[in-house]
Symmetry: C2
Subunit: 204 residues, 2 copies
């Protein structure tokens, strides 16, 4: 156990594995009992670690939540990236991007309701993981736009920043978990109609 | 008092004035103490009427809330309508429409936080007043679109229903009180960028 006890400045591979163990157990635990109502004590008890031991690896419950949230958001981006990877045109990339985002987000909501609560808290409280996720999606929109401009599919008059930001604003109610929950009933249809509207706005 | 006591099928002008009195008092009361936590008993006590007497005029607390909500939403539509009334073009109408909606909604949020809660409940629970409000705004979008098609400002290829529905979907996170509260910090800027995007999508 001595390796585990060393201070946080010299964390080694074993520490890493303990962190992973805590995150895996916490993911499981939060998905049953929710994030907001659970304390680190509850979690420690369930995993069989002491609270003090968990605090060696994570500064707070939010720090654990952040890792779970980052992992989920990375999964979501992977789904989106693989959905658009082999799209033949930038227009098709944009359609698939929106569709995959809405589907993956709704899936997380319906199949992992309790974990979705972490996502909601993270987006409501602007956690770094949630903020970074939005920035990465905005970046992705910009890349699709740039590709479409280069291929001649999209107009080039509007400043790239302005166009991609506006498109991101259209997507945002379907990206932000705290808002997606109010749009679930119309999300699939909205993804289709809004993609078409966006593509009309991009016509050269 | 006999006039007030007659049954609900033959309500006269005096009944109407009692209803208005209850609504005015309830608006005042809810704006101090909130809607969700207040009961009809609390309200009756505050107004100085008996609970039974209030129930002669309103079937439930929601029925009172519905009237307050309808009144507020009608005010909001009046603001929007007068904002667009003298706009010289359909494009300008659309810009002013979006801007006025966001401003009036944010105003209600910031200056009448407790009453905003009624709007939130009404949109979350799909009250008839909230549903009708959305339908009227969609109708207004369609009228602006039609005017712009007739003047040659907007394209005519996209089916009118589809185009107006898609625009409504872009607006919706700023119309729905339950979502607007999450978009307040970016709402003014969003209204501008999203109007521009919509107008690009409408270019002939």
């Amino acid at each position: 156990m001595t390796t585990l006890m060393k201070n946080s400045h010299t964390r080694g591979p074993l520490d890493h594995s303990v962190r992973e163990q805590v995150v895996a157990a916490a993911t499981e635990y939060f998905s049953h009992f929710g994030y907001e109502k659970t304390t680190v004590s509850d979690l420690a008890k369930a995993i069989g670690f002491s609270k003090a031991y968990i605090y060696k690896f994570f500064d707070s419950k939010q720090a654990i939540g952040e890792v779970i949230c980052s992992n989920r958001l990375a999964m979501l981006r992977d789904i989106v990236l693989s959905a658009i990877a082999d799209a033949p045109t930038a227009s098709e990339k944009l359609r698939r991007f929106f569709k995959a985002l809405v589907e993956a987000g709704s899936d997380l909501f319906f199949h992992d309701r309790k974990l979705y609560d972490i996502a909601t808290v993270s987006s409501r409280d602007k956690w770094p993981s949630a903020v970074a996720h939005e920035a990465q999606l905005l970046q992705l929109v910009q890349e699709i736009l740039l590709a479409g401009r280069q291929s001649g599919e999209f107009e080039r008059k509007t400043p790239l920043d302005e166009a991609s930001h506006a498109i991101f604003l259209v997507l945002r109610p379907y990206i932000s978990p705290v808002q997606l929950q109010y749009n679930l009933d119309t999300a699939a249809e909205a993804a289709q109609h809004l993609s078409s509207l966006i593509l009309r706005s991009l016509a050269p």
